[in-house]
């Protein structure tokens, strides 16, 4: 029987007392690769932040690994890449290695220390993102794409069971983007890592994701990409030629 990794029930959520999401209900089970799409302002980031316990639901319930999201403690099971860093300072003086090491703090108890045993995990994550040669560089000295790969390495360093990626490839060149999606595919297929990928690129979802969640303040569609292709939602939201171009390419 499939194990629920995320369970969202009748969720109403938002911020600064303005409601963004209305009556959202869905489940994500172990091994799902869910593409989360929707227009700007549709509540994708609000949904992600509510799942991650950063916003408390106004109504309804969100569970992650069976626990209410705002009471959840096993954060080492979750890797998260935000759309943008809220407080990132381009002159931040930490090295790539120091930044990736921060991803390991979630499984440490006080006083949280990074020791020699952690080096292997850090090096593995750096290798995975092909940035081992950058490990002693300052984060502020990197290009946008390199910086994004560092944050991806930080999200992956714990070998999480759930990866939540909010528009992760916007700053990446096509080659790195392809490599990144191949890594995600391998993590999903081989390691059964559950993935939620927020993106505007419906083609990417068609190529890699097993499910599609279309959000526009409420759930418009949740199911397989094939079902989405065959539905009216595809043409309604992506234009009349989308079905032919995207679904054909996918097939």
């Amino acid at each position: 029987m499939p194990v629920d990794i995320i369970s969202v029930e009748k969720l109403h959520s938002g911020y600064n007392s303005s409601k963004v999401l209305n009556d959202v209900t869905f489940n994500i089970t172990k091994g799902d690769y869910v593409g989360l799409v929707g227009p700007n302002g549709s509540g994708k980031t609000t949904l992600i932040k509510t799942i991650l316990g950063l916003f408390e639901p106004m109504e309804g319930n969100v569970s992650i690994f069976g626990e209410r999201s705002w009471e959840f403690k096993d954060w080492h099971k979750v890797g998260y890449l935000p759309q943008k860093l809220v407080s990132f300072n381009p002159h931040f003086p930490a090295t790539v290695k120091e930044i990736v090491a921060l991803g390991l703090l979630s499984k440490k108890a006080f006083p949280r220390k990074i020791d020699r045993n952690d080096e292997m995990a850090i090096n593995k994550a750096l290798d995975l993102m092909d940035i081992s040669d950058l490990k002693d560089k300052l984060i502020g000295e990197l290009s946008g794409g390199q910086g994004q790969r560092v944050l991806l390495a930080k999200a992956l360093v714990n070998e999480p069971d759930l990866l939540i990626l909010d528009e992760p490839v916007t700053a990446l060149d096509p080659e790195t983007r392809e490599r990144f999606f191949n890594i995600l595919e391998e993590l999903n297929q081989v390691n059964k890592v559950t993935i939620i990928l927020v993106t505007h690129d419906i083609g990417t979802i068609g190529k890699y994701a097993s499910k599609l969640l279309y959000l526009d303040k409420k759930i418009i569609f949740y199911g397989s990409f094939e079902d989405f292709c065959g539905s009216d939602h595809m043409t309604r939201y992506f234009g009349k030629f989308s079905q032919h171009i995207i679904c054909h390419r996918h097939n």
């Binding site: 809220v86 407080s87 703090l105």
Partner: protein, 275 residues
């Protein structure tokens, strides 16, 4: 006067020892405050210290004993005000600091008579530091530095990105409280070194110098501590030998360090990153 004779003076020894500990403390915290864009909190808490010193003098108690609990409480007050009233940091700091200055001025006006004492706290006089104050400075500096080292990774994490830190299971409210409480204690101690008017310079300048040269976060902290301690010792020496105000001398030397680091970085950049 030779260096041995200079260092034989008890008041010089006390100033150098206490000043070095406080300098190390300020410069360590300064890195976190600058990167979190909280540099203003040093200024704000210095203004709170002004009010608490006035209260201490009014009550005829040593100002440091009154100031530490008051400044610590009001530092938490600033955090609460930001959280509850949904104010930006600079607004909350502005409210608390201006009210504290106003309270200090009112107390000074009501009491009369302690304006000269208040003046010495405004501009600092580390050469007049007592043995008791030296011990308090050393003890509190060690405690705060230990707290910072225990919470180093949490502080680094919230400084890099507070939201990601929360998702790492870090209790960001607690770590923010640790940061502002440490800053509160530091500001009160630094009042003796450079005076209330110049406290923020001890927090900001060495850290700003370090950010020009750093090759990593720990490296930034080490450069900051080194620049700060050297500035304090040089400032004490120069002020004594040339009969200049000590606090102002320390700040100017700190600034010279910053200029040197800035020019060095520009030079390296113009040579295409080859040192």
């Amino acid at each position: 006067m030779d260096i041995i004779e200079f260092l034989n003076y008890g008041f010089i020894q006390r100033a150098i020892i206490a000043g070095s500990f406080i300098a190390a403390l300020c410069s360590t915290l300064g890195i976190f405050l600058i990167l979190r864009r909280l540099s203003l909190i040093g200024d704000g808490l210095a203004h709170v210290t002004f009010g608490s010193v006035a209260l201490g003098l009014f009550l005829r108690t040593h100002p440091i004993y009154i100031s530490i609990p008051i400044v610590m409480s009001l530092s938490l007050g600033i955090l609460k005000l930001m959280e509850r009233a949904k104010l930006h940091g600079d607004t909350a700091i502005g409210i608390v600091s201006s009210v504290s200055i106003a309270a200090g001025i009112l107390l000074a006006s009501i009491a009369g008579g302690f304006n000269i004492d208040l003046f010495s706290y405004l501009f600092g006089n580390i050469l007049a530091i007592s043995t008791g104050e030296v011990f308090i400075s050393i003890a509190l500096s060690i405690i705060v530095i230990l707290i910072i080292s225990f919470y180093y990774h949490e502080l680094l994490s919230i400084t890099f990105d507070e939201e990601s830190a929360r998702i790492s299971g870090i209790k960001t409210k607690k770590i923010n409280a640790v940061l502002v409480l440490s800053t509160a204690v530091t500001v009160v101690l630094a009042m003796r070194v450079v005076g209330i008017m110049l406290i923020s310079s001890l927090l900001i300048l060495p850290a700003a110098t370090a950010l020009q040269l750093a090759t990593g976060f720990k490296n930034a902290m080490m450069i900051s501590v080194f620049a700060s301690i050297v500035s304090v010792i040089s400032g004490i020496s120069v002020s004594f030998l040339l009969n200049l105000p000590t606090g102002a001398s320390i700040v100017i030397i700190n600034f010279l360090f910053f200029i040197a680091a800035f020019m060095y970085k520009r030079l390296i950049a113009s040579n295409g990153g080859q040192s």
